[in-house]
């Protein structure tokens, strides 16, 4: 066995109290921040396919890996479809970085393949409704149960004010004035909704690309590293941004579904839909993504993270500027 397989086998063996062997390691994806690895764990003659999510080091995580495992377990206990977590290991010496182990879920998650599958299976509206149902269940969890490691707005500050403050700070860091982004911030200020009546746990990155689907529908919601306490409408708006439609622009929800089945399913599962806050969070998310791309270009230019991929992000800002201007057309205005 490799050192990695050996480390996983020893760690699982201690947790399960039996001898475990690990084989069939297969790296399914490797991002800058984390690696996902499929493997077979055999104990007592039974083989299970599991997945390890591994961070290269402990210092680049958005939230503590333990908190991420906790929030996933909490979500699953409340009916959210997400792979079962067998445990988290924060000790980087076991396999070279903090990790957690979950059940391996088969299916499609790569956006172009998801869109193809959905088109063939004709199950886009079903999946959109299942996503909305899962979000309603997550939002129904008592926020007092949120793991202590989850980020949350400061005392006395709401999620709307927190998000606006973040955008304002990022705009201050732009390398040159971008009038369209400033126009977006003006709109967000002028159309600022009331803070939500209820704060909830939010995933904040559910979208095409972060879900596993099959012909039978939604199989898992992945990538909980952005979980926090916030406005539930932020979660509903995010999958409906143009960048997650992968050119299937007619279908507002992630390029797979009209809005109606998604909204209806959220309400049917007890969620309170607020159209004004939905529209506001769509504009905010679009602006924030544009600022994120500008920040990537800045990181390339100042040497923090030099790569041509980050450099190219600077030339993508105009895509988000366009999407934003389309979302905030003033009354009587139009885009020819």
């Amino acid at each position: 066995m490799s050192a990695l397989a050996d480390g996983l086998a020893r760690w699982l063996g201690e947790r399960w109290g039996m001898t475990v062997t690990v084989a069939g390691l297969d790296q399914s994806s490797a991002g800058a921040r984390r690696t996902n690895l499929g493997f077979d764990a055999t104990a007592d003659g039974v083989t299970r396919r599991l997945a390890a999510t591994i961070l290269p080091t402990a210092d680049i995580q958005l939230i503590d890996l333990g908190a991420e495992a906790e929030v996933r377990t909490l979500a699953q206990a409340n009916g959210v479809i997400t792979p079962f977590i067998h445990g988290a290991c924060l000790d980087p010496s076991v396999i070279g970085g903090p990790f957690f182990v979950s059940d391996f879920v088969t299916g499609e998650s790569v956006p172009r393949r998801v869109l193809r599958l959905v088109e063939q299976a004709g199950n886009g509206e079903r999946i959109a409704a299942q996503i909305a149902d899962a979000l309603a269940r997550l939002h129904a969890v008592d926020p007092a149960l949120a793991p202590a490691g989850l980020p949350r707005p400061a005392d006395g500050v709401g999620p709307i004010a927190t998000a606006l403050g973040g955008v304002r700070d990022s705009i201050g860091l732009l390398l040159q004035p971008e009038p369209a982004l400033l126009y977006g911030l003006r709109w967000l200020e002028a159309n600022r909704p009331d803070e939500p009546a209820r704060r909830t746990i939010v995933h904040s990155d559910v979208r095409t690309g972060n879900v596993i689907v099959g012909a039978d529908g939604l199989r898992a919601i992945l990538d909980w590293e952005t979980a926090k306490v916030g406005d539930p409408m932020e979660d509903l708006a995010w999958p409906c941004l143009r960048m997650w439609r992968f050119r299937n622009d007619d279908l507002l929800v992630g390029g797979i579904s009209r809005i109606e089945p998604y909204r209806d399913a959220y309400r049917a599962a007890g969620g309170a839909w607020d159209q004004d806050r939905f529209e506001w969070w769509r504009a905010l998310g679009t602006l924030r993504w544009g600022l994120g791309l500008a920040n990537q270009a800045a990181q390339h230019l100042d040497g923090r993270f030099r790569t041509i991929v980050m450099a190219a992000s600077g030339r993508r800002v105009s895509e988000l500027t366009w999407d934003l201007l389309c979302l905030i057309t003033p009354p009587g205005g139009r885009i020819d």
Binding site: L182, R186, T307, I308, E319, L325, G333
Partner: protein, 122 residues
């Protein structure tokens, strides 16, 4: 003045080299970066061709909108300063500002991502 090929012609040649020859010759993670570099060379080719006219048109729009003269950099800074002031615009000005930003973004997209403005419903 440089002899031909022009900057735009050379950038197209570099993009062709990256897309048609280098991409297949390299493997692994470098492939993605080569693809990105090829796309950037195509963006620069369009920028060399289109930016002079686009920048002049943007400056002209901003002069009309702001009622003042200046270089493009000065005019953009002036618009940014006005947008940073929360005092509302009247409805006509609001529409004119939005329309000017749409026109500029459309010209930017003609360079950076042609076709992205085919969809305008957000």
């Amino acid at each position: 003045m440089q002899y031909r090929p022009t900057a735009a012609e050379l950038l197209a040649d570099i993009a062709d080299l990256l897309d048609d020859e280098v991409l297949d010759a390299v493997g692994g993670p470098l492939q993605h970066r080569v693809r990105v570099a090829g796309n950037l060379a195509r963006i620069l080719e369009r920028e060399v061709r289109l930016a002079p006219v686009a920048d002049a048109a943007e400056a002209e729009r901003l002069r009309a909108l702001l009622g003042r003269d200046g270089t493009l950099v000065e005019l953009r800074a002036a618009l940014a300063a006005r947008l940073g002031d929360p005092t509302p615009f009247d409805a006509d000005t609001e529409r004119a500002v939005h329309a000017a930003l749409v026109a500029t973004t459309r010209a930017d997209l003609a360079i950076a991502k042609p076709g992205h403005d085919d969809w305008s419903r957000g």
